[in-house]
Subunit: 116 residues, 2 copies
């Protein structure tokens, strides 16, 4: 992963990834859902609804709905926090891990293909 990107190259990378995501659109995630998904898989737990809402500067229902949708896809899971039963902890799934891993491969492949 070269870090010395010029503006046009950086945008081309972003464009190629966006187009790839749109094309073989397995799940049609929105930007918000993607931000939630990557937060869950890249940052250390625990992940609560309130915490993620604060991190993304969105309201709690946005996170709840994103988890509803992605939970339906099997990309994330939810469990009550036994220590504090008001909290809900977002958990990773095998399917979600595979999806994220594939996305990482895509970013790398596209970055490698850039004329640097």
């Amino acid at each position: 992963m070269q870090i010395e990107l010029k503006p046009f190259q950086a945008l081309t990378l972003w464009k190629e990834i966006a187009i790839s995501e749109v094309r073989d659109d397995a799940h049609d995630l929105t930007m918000r859902q993607l931000a939630v998904l990557l937060t869950v898989y890249l940052e250390p737990p625990p992940h609560t609804i309130r915490g993620m809402a604060a991190k993304l500067k969105v309201t709690k229902p946005v996170i709840t709905r994103a988890l509803d949708t992605m939970g339906g896809y099997g990309l994330v899971d939810r469990h009550r926090d036994e220590k504090d039963k008001r909290n809900v902890l977002v958990k990773r799934t095998v399917k979600g891990a595979l999806y994220v891993e594939k996305l990482g491969d895509l970013v790398i492949a596209k970055a490698r293909g850039l004329p640097l």
Copy 2:
């Protein structure tokens, strides 16, 4: 260690950008809209509805609606092709160019901030 770090960095970059976009959500573009926008601004014209639909492998109404929304934001413009009045040519705007430029700066800034 280094081998596993590369995908993680790539995903972290993608995550940081997604979160930034969600946070200061000037326009709340979807992935499809973003793909359309970047295609218009990074690839040489002309850009027709049919051409972009084919490129993104989506139906034409998807492109039409994306242009409706982004046109409302002032990010793109449309004109009839005078050579073939069936066609509509997508045009760039000053506002859209600024938005794309800012996005490029964001990608670069986030890439630069990655721990190599």
